[in-house]
């Protein structure tokens, strides 16, 4: 494994940043450095799926990755790196919990998705507007409280009313979300952890690409 990929996989913050800075100073291609780090993030995701890494390791990896991105941004616009797809994400109205949302947003970004993070306590109409403006075809709704179930349902209905629902996949997540809530809200999937969100997003993007030929 590449030294930089390995350092990121093992969450060696200082080592990662030192290598990135040294490579930048040596004139290495920033896109290549970025891709090498993305490979590390992929490894971290795999270790998480294997049960060796847990949320803190995911978050720490995300934190290191964020710093790498910041360093590289002086040389390249990260937007020039191919984007896997756009996702509109937020904690639904009447719920101000942001930990779960931030975790998932961080994971999706490090997996190569462009995430439009609408924040917390987000009214249904804001999701609709964000989908219209961005053209995103995936929406993520987060919420911890049972009150969030109603807001999730209202958000899905608002997407329907706006005529956007057929072209958009909706995932929901949060502490007490289960099959029953999924059916109630009328969303397409729910997941127990951030990796599930990444998996859904990857799967849906692949399906959409297939449909588009």
């Amino acid at each position: 494994m590449n030294e930089l990929t390995q350092a990121l996989t093992e969450l060696e913050e200082e080592t990662v940043l030192n290598i990135v800075q040294a490579r930048m100073a040596a004139g290495d291609d920033p896109k290549e450095i970025f891709a090498t780090c993305q490979a590390g993030m992929k490894q971290v995701g795999q270790l998480y799926e294997q049960g060796e890494y847990f949320l803190p390791e995911l978050m720490m990896a995300g934190e290191i990755f964020k710093q790498v991105t910041k360093l590289l941004e002086s040389r390249i616009t990260i937007e020039s790196v191919p984007v896997r797809g756009k996702i509109v994400f937020g904690t639904v109205e009447n719920d101000i919990h942001d930990i779960g949302k931030d975790l998932v947003v961080g994971m999706l970004r490090s997996a190569g998705f462009e995430v439009i993070d609408l924040g917390i306590d987000v009214p249904a109409q804001k999701f609709v507007e964000a989908v219209q403006e961005s053209g995103a075809r995936i929406v993520g709704l987060s919420g911890l409280l049972t009150l969030a179930f109603d807001s999730m349902k209202e958000t899905v209905e608002a997407l329907e009313t706006a005529g956007l629902r057929p072209g958009v996949k909706v995932m929901i997540g949060g502490g007490s979300i289960n099959e029953k809530v999924l059916a109630f809200a009328g969303a397409d999937a729910y997941g127990p952890d951030p990796q599930a969100a990444v998996n859904f997003a990857n799967q849906w993007i692949a399906e959409m690409e297939m449909q588009n030929g």
């Binding site: 949320l55 101000i96 049972t146 009150l147 179930f149 007490s176 127990p192």
Partner: protein
């Protein structure tokens, strides 16, 4: 078997002895109590004495059960744990649900402060920061209000005792990482585990050193005032379930074990309320004292698997999910509760409860269905009676 009192039933279940029926203890706190009784949430936050009355009213309206919980919220919110809280009537509308807000109140330097001075001094040092973030109690009134809150807690426990129901106390010593995580904010806390691991460990040691004797003294003094001489303490645990085995063994389990062992030795019954999924660490609870601790599961941990591992060692409580109490029908709640009694209740050591607190917007008829089922569906009564005849 003769009919037991709620206290006897609870004691028997915790100590893994035969019961006349499973104890029923849905975690009804102030939010559901108020909403179901047509009281605005801000009213109980402003007036904890009224909050207790509303709780008693809801308890009766739902049919009464075997354990009562505390109202759970007043104008101190969770500020007293260094956590920014948004309260109805103060920061939110009169009938909005209180919520925690992730804010970085504790700094990295505060680990050193806690190592030197302990947790209580840290909270005191954080008052001005908390007031700046919206705590509605002025700094100079805070110590007196804390004292009032403690007195109110004791008065509530006595009130429940008069009604004939044991109470679960919700404020006391804690697993250090759980409180660091909230007052530090989750993201900062997580990076601390990697960047400042030695500080986190030393501050955890310092917290327990202070909190164990402080908590035991507090509970012993309350116990002396109670007819039953019994106090149980709800201890929240979420963070451990999120840690990898390596970090769990380093930062969490040694402290939890030390805390629980000390409390049990002092005669306090810990109820470990496990938020989220604890499947991977269930075996570890075999290391805690047998028949003295309740493991309260919220619907995300596999309760059947937990039972198969902890049977004969630990009383399990749970786990009618919040989503079912809000979205389900009374029939569905009844079926779920019956299944729990049949499977998890088999052989005793089980308390029928809601997963988390009964949600504010649960259907009252669903809460009644849970309680009714616990009281009236009783396959084990027969088994134990036959055993008694033999």
């Amino acid at each position: 078997m003769d009919e037991m009192t709620p206290y006897e039933r609870l004691q028997a279940a915790i100590h893994l002895q035969p019961v006349d029926r499973v104890p029923v203890a849905p975690k009804i706190d102030g939010s559901f109590a108020a909403r179901s009784q047509g009281v605005k949430l801000a009213e109980i936050v402003r007036n904890p004495q009224f909050g207790q009355k509303v709780l008693e009213q809801a308890f009766e309206a739902m049919g009464g059960c075997d354990v009562a919980f505390q109202a759970g919220m007043n104008d101190l919110g969770l500020f007293m744990l260094g956590i920014v809280t948004r309260l109805p009537g103060y920061h939110l509308g009169e009938d909005d649900l209180w919520q925690l807000e992730e804010q970085e109140i504790m700094t990295v330097e505060d680990y050193d402060f806690i190592i030197q001075n302990g947790w209580n001094a840290y909270i005191e040092s954080a008052y001005p920061r908390l007031v700046a973030k919206g705590m509605p109690v002025p700094v100079e009134q805070f110590p007196a209000r804390l004292q009032q809150m403690g007195d109110q807690g004791t008065a509530d426990m006595k009130a429940w005792e008069t009604i004939g129901v044991p109470t679960l106390f919700g404020f006391g010593p804690f697993i250090p990482l759980e409180n660091f995580r909230f007052t530090r904010s989750f993201k900062a806390f997580v990076t601390d585990l990697f960047r400042h691991s030695e500080k986190v460990l030393a501050a955890s040691e310092s917290c327990l050193e202070e909190q164990i004797p402080w908590g035991i003294e507090m509970f012993t003094s309350v116990q002396k005032q109670m007819k039953w001489g019994y106090v149980s303490l709800q201890i929240g645990q979420t963070t451990g379930s999120m840690l990898s085995p390596k970090q769990f063994d380093k930062f969490y389990w040694p402290f939890e074990k030390k805390l629980i062992n000390s409390l049990v030795e002092a005669g306090v019954t810990p109820w470990l309320h496990c938020d989220s999924n604890w499947d991977r660490y269930i075996e570890r609870f075999l290391e805690l004292p047998k028949g003295e601790v309740v493991l309260d599961l919220d619907g995300l941990t596999d309760i059947a698997r937990a039972k198969s591992i902890l049977k004969g060692h630990m009383c399990i409580s749970g786990d009618v999910p919040a989503a079912l109490l809000k979205l389900g029908t009374p029939e569905e709640v009844t079926d779920y509760s019956k299944k729990l009694i049949d499977t998890i209740g088999d052989g005793g050591g089980f308390i029928l409860s809601s997963g988390c607190s009964v949600p504010v917007d649960a259907k009252p008829e669903n809460v009644k269905a849970l309680i009714d089922t616990g009281k009236n569906y009783n396959p084990h009564h027969r088994v134990f009676s036959i055993g008694a005849l033999n």
